[in-house]
Symmetry: C2
Subunit: 114 residues, 2 copies
DNA sequence: TCTTGCTAGGTTGTTTTACAACATAGCTAG
DNA sequence: CTAGCTATGTTGTAAAACAACCTAGCAAGA
């Protein structure tokens, strides 16, 4: 995975991380992401991403009826998806360190001398 | 600034942060980013970004001759650029917290019990 | 009945992004 | 006179993130 894809793929990594915890369906995942700070997430972003991840082999899905409403499509991680999540986690740690260092330098640059 | 733009705009924020420290030209900035972990950055990514940021009012520039080689285009932050950097810094902190929480939950989910 | 609203999963069209690849040009060393 | 570093771009392509729209199940109330 390239670094730029990581930068763009923060949402992707979070999706994998949430699905890793338990089998969820798209609409539920959308609510979970909203509650965890991705407040602007919309269906038009999430559903194509899930399709892409399944096509890519990171996710598998099965359709189950809902107690009230249309059928739900539940996703779970494949072994490859677990691997992808691990890689994302490592690269996220690295990116975080890089960005934090650059920001720290910038914000402490013009400090008054004692 | 929207959150998705933040996710995509990590590089943008880092560019602003480095320029905030001192007036730099594109090629120099490219080296600085490479040394700070953005190892894959290329001119075709950076130069259009600088043009965009200047067009947007976050950067101002002036051309100066190089001691050896073609002229250099030096960039500095405008007041608006300083503001944008501050906003980026805040939203980065928030995003970082959100992502870390999601990842922590995912990675500690299936821990073996003692 | 029929309309509103939530649930659920999409598609379509548009804009932006990151990049590879290329183009140009100054200057230096061999 | 050519190879290589410096320096700033442009062009074309693929993917991403929406906004906006569509379909459809089900429930509650007017």
């Amino acid at each position: 995975m390239k670094q730029t894809q990581l930068i763009k793929g923060v949402l992707e990594g979070c999706v994998l991380a949430i699905i890793a915890q338990k089998e969820v369906y798209g609409y539920d995942l959308m609510q979970a992401l909203k509650h965890r700070g991705f407040t602007t997430i919309v269906g038009g972003t999430l559903y194509p991403l899930l399709v892409k991840l399944e096509r890519n082999g990171d996710l598998a899905s099965r359709t189950k009826p809902s107690p009230a409403g249309p059928n739900r499509k539940y996703y779970r991680l494949t072994p490859q998806g677990t691997q992808t999540l691990t890689e994302f986690s490592q690269q996220w740690t690295q990116l975080k360190g890089n960005v934090d260092q650059i920001l720290t330098e910038a914000l402490t640059h013009d400090e008054p001398q004692p």
